[in-house]
Amino acid sequence: MTVYSPPGSDGAIVNYESRYDHFIGGEYVPPAKGQYFANPSPVTGQDFCEVARGTAEDVEKALDAAHGAADAWGRTSTAERANILNKIADRMEQNLEKLAVAECWENGKPVRETLAADIPLAIDHFRYFAGAIRAQEGTAGEIDDDTVAYHFHEPLGVVAQIIPWNFPILMAVWKLAPALAAGNAVVLKPAEQTPASIHYWLSLVADLLPPGVLNIVNGFGVEAGKPLASSNRVAKVAFTGETTTGRLIMQYASENLIPVTLELGGKSPNIFFDDVSRLDDDFYDKSLEGFSMFALNQGEVCTCPSRALIQQGIYSDFLAAGVKRVENLKQGNPLDTDTQVGAQASNDQLEKILSYFDIGRQEGAKVLTGGARADLGGSLSGGYYVQPTIFEGNNAMRIFQEEIFGPVVSVTSFADYADAIKIANDTLYGLGAGVWTRDINTAYRAGRAIKAGRVWTNSYHLYPAHAAFGGYKQSGIGRENHKMMLDHYQQTKNLLVSYSPKAMGFF
């Protein structure tokens, strides 16, 4: 067991600067209007640094820098770009522990997760896209004996990326790695709830990228995000967030006729068929862990398995075992490597979760465990902690239909396979799902029948770089991860070449 010292305190392995400006054209630039906002740690609720409050003027400056760098960056060899991505990954690996502690302090998530998941996955993401871009090839189509269609991949140019606060570094890397690999210059806006950890990351790798290739403008959505997303100087907008902002970004994009990729969340079903309880073995234990996965990252995951559907034959016993498992989760200081459940990322997020406890109870859902804010005492009393919570109810309730984004699961039962699929698909969203069964035929059929972009089968919350991630229905447009992501950051150039000296004969 290790308990890391808070950044900024004696014995800390990593410290934040007291202030972060915008990173534009390879250097730090103060905001045009000279304003900053305070950035609290969710661990204690206390401010630990201040961050530039960007406006349209800063966004324009970042776009100038990006446009100045984009052409040359787009013409670098794939070998050169891949080398840079690999070097970024190496620097991150050398500083993994520091990055993990910095991210924990910024977001409130337990350091055991950042050590084991967030940062290692981000490192691997750079390496994956370093490899993918080297291996990518265009095509040559032989149209006829004299005519050849060549297809080349070309970068889009300058792209805008708006990052969420639930995995500040990893979600930035999901967007950055393919965009940079494909040869684009980027203007990135971190979430205003978690604006600082990306700058610590940048302090480790900034010297590896040519000036202007990556620009970071901080600030609020309405003041910095909107001028970026609505700019006619970007070739694409990538956004992770929620539906109303997603629609607004599409509206801006329609004015500029540019593509968007949107990841807008879900209400993912986690389905447990009767046969998981047939034996009391490792697989049964794994399926109970799968049930408890709603508490991973305090439920602040777009694919949080926030609806558990348990087949009637095992319902009571499985749910009782699940409640016991969840009650044994260790909630505490996120900087303690033994802590499994940390703090919610912000006060408004905490308030929203509490408002769902209220409407859940009013609609008649039964609280099987949790259901309240957690006061961890001492310096953690000001932090944003919520007890892992299990509701029992039915799929028409709002707690079954809305993404609470907290450590909250809503549980109901189903009669048979058809009933399971019906309930699973009775949602506006389709991002993730889980299927748990010992029967490969049921697993396959359920996986194909659920209308969601990712169906974990006898697993949950794995995020390898080479598995496509994205939503059906209102969960969004496009995918992240996997080499197919390069397409989302590339144009297709077709050279259609005639090798015949003869006129076509039309005129």
């Binding site: 979430a191 959505g221 309405v222 929620e242 777009c302 993404e403 609470i404």
Partner: protein, 123 residues
């Protein structure tokens, strides 16, 4: 007469402030992840509503000349229509492009079940 949406005094204060700073306002209730399930406050007309949206209420706020419209997508409304919404405001950092975030606060929805009488009046 029953209403679908009310506002707390603190939220009304913030709406008056934002109206004074920016101009006429509207709300669109979000869904989905991160800041989903939060009401987004925009300049009136900034967010283009269409056939997929439902106007839940035109809020009358003392000191604001024009009503502030409150919208939601129709598919989401189908799942919310049995509940009454109260727009509140809490300290927070917000997100999305909602106008109040730079003020250090976030609009928040509190919900209760509509009574049978209210449902009859609203139908």
């Amino acid at each position: 007469m029953a209403t679908r949406v009310d506002v707390t005094p603190a939220a009304a204060d913030m709406m008056r402030q934002l109206r004074g700073q920016h101009g006429p306002l509207m709300f669109h209730q979000s869904g989905g992840c991160c800041d989903g399930s939060s009401p987004m406050c925009y300049l009136e007309g900034e967010f283009r509503t269409g056939q997929s949206d439902v106007l839940l209420e035109s809020l009358k706020i003392d000191g604001v000349d024009e009503p502030i419209t409150f919208w939601m997508s129709g598919s989401q409304f189908e799942l919310w229509k049995h509940t009454h919404l109260t727009v509140d405001v809490v300290p927070g950092r917000g997100s999305g492009f909602s106008l109040e975030a730079p003020e250090g606060v976030r609009f928040l929805i509190r919900s209760r079940l509509l009574t049978e009488q209210e449902l009859i009046e609203l139908s």
